[in-house]
Amino acid sequence: MQITKEDVLHVAKLGKLYLKDEKVDKFRKNLSDIVQYAKRLDEVDVSGISPTAAILPLQNVFRKDEAAKSMDREKILQNAPEKSYGCFWVRNKVVE
């Protein structure tokens, strides 16, 4: 299974990453090697086998619907790169 340059650029776009031109081929080769290795799973017959997403037989438990104190706004905003009027701030320019 060979991953193409287009595949790499496509997944980079989906993952919101810019790639430098000189890195694209290196990533293409790395990803091809890994996907090639992962392809070994084709040897396994999985017909009728249900997928496992979580190991333990946990069920969703809802907490009581009681009001509780949340974190202070100041604390939540302390890591904001930019903030304004008690909100996270990002520039409002949209892509043309």
């Binding site: 991953i3 595949d7 790499v8 496509h10 997944v11 980079a12 989906l14 993952g15 919101k16 990453l17 810019y18 790639l19 890195k23 990533f27 790395n30 990803l31 090697d33 890994i34 996907v35 290795y37 992962a38 392809k39 070994r40 799973l41 040897e43 396994v44 999985v46 086998i49 249900s50 997928p51 496992t52 997403a53 979580a54 190991i55 333990l56 946990l58 969703n60 907490r63 974190m71 604390k75 939540i76 302390q78 890591n79 904001a80 790169p81 930019e82 996270f88 990002v90 520039r91 320019k93 949209v94 892509v95």
Partner: protein
Amino acid sequence: MDIKNKTVHELKNMLDKKETTSVEITKDYLNRIGEVEEKVQAFITVTEDVALKQAEISDNKRKNGEKLGALEGIPMAIKDNMCTDGILTTCGSKILNNFIPPYNATVVDKLNNAGCVLLGKTNMDEFAMGSSTETSYYKKTKNPWDLNRVPGGSSGGSAAAVAANEAPFALGSDTGGSIRQPAHYCGLVGMKPTYGSVSRYGLVAFASSLDQIGTFTKDVHDMALIMNNIVGHDPKDSTSYPQEHPDFTNALNQDIKGMKIALPKEFFGHGINEEVRIAIMNVSKKYESMGATIEEVSMPMSDYALSVYYIIACAEASSNLARYDGVRFGYRAKDVESLDDLYKKTRSEGFGDEVKRRIMLGTYVLSSGYYDAYYKKAQQVRTLINDEFDKIFDKYDMILTPTGPTVAFEFGKNSDNPLEMYMNDICTVPINIAGVPAMSMNCGFDSQGMPIGMQLVGKHFDEFGIIKLAHAMERELGLDNGAGL
């Protein structure tokens, strides 16, 4: 006092007998960090002021006869992917180079409540993605046994800190071997508990269905002590399991006669180094002479574990790491043209190559047209791997394997070839896939004096059984585990 090679239980005894104080011990460790840290590079942040303040509070509690925690006054180091209120938490990444968490991870709260003193936050592979700690944005941690070699990863800083006597114990996290493999490389006891037994609240997520917090200690007794203080259900972690845990120290000094141990032959193939294989066979013979039964078994599905692991771990990571967008916290790129440009520039500048590689791989296996062929298939094989573990544990109490195929390797040896690097995890990843508990413990040395780890794997929530067998072997071997630095 000479803190070199002191264990937590020895320090605890000395504190209880009032032979020393927490401030004195803490200063000794801080001095030791001052002495060797330039060589070892185990810490991203040393929290000297916090440590001395916590130690003083602890000593005052003792002096005033107040109620003491189970680990009162004992210093510790924490991997830098666990949130510490008011203390920089970078996850080894540039993208979190300014992140000061507004809260503590549950494990940090628990250990604080037990009376522990925080010495600092340890180096790690970026977002815990690596097996050598070389992908850290900040520094390269050295193996205290041989400074030309890697400490293992991703919790390499925690392992090196304990091996170099910069901390008596440390916490790490293990997604595919990130505690056990560095414990193996650094001659320590490294425990990855059952998935769901230790809260992940406040642990920076890598692969949520595989991640688990665990311990680095100098011996099995210490591991039992720390485990007693970190396990338990946490309403803040929806995957935390409501399970009663025994006092793990009751597993010490027990007879292991009649215990049944399985030796899966697949874990002894895959380019397992001959010296490593011989060390594990030696352990197996000793168990037999101590009255346990040993049988070779076959776990053919475990051969597919690494493929399953990289598909599932990367898929989960690509989703978990979508939150780093430069908006609410962490690094934000400058001079951007648009919101989309802000996301892309922030992520491109903030993440290193290994993280980008795994985000892209995860995105690929989840993308339209490939989901069934990769992600769903991996989840189905995961079911088969779990079934195989269940079947083994129907007949046996424990599984014994090497922790990794080789001893610690030299810097740069695998860093150009990701797939080669991933092969170091071949013995550890099946355990995370099945969510069972496992630990690595030093069981000997190779011809160059590098430590070799053995891995014990138990059934879900049988950390007690692991400790029982591990402690019996530790007593039998009586090894000197000092790194000599």
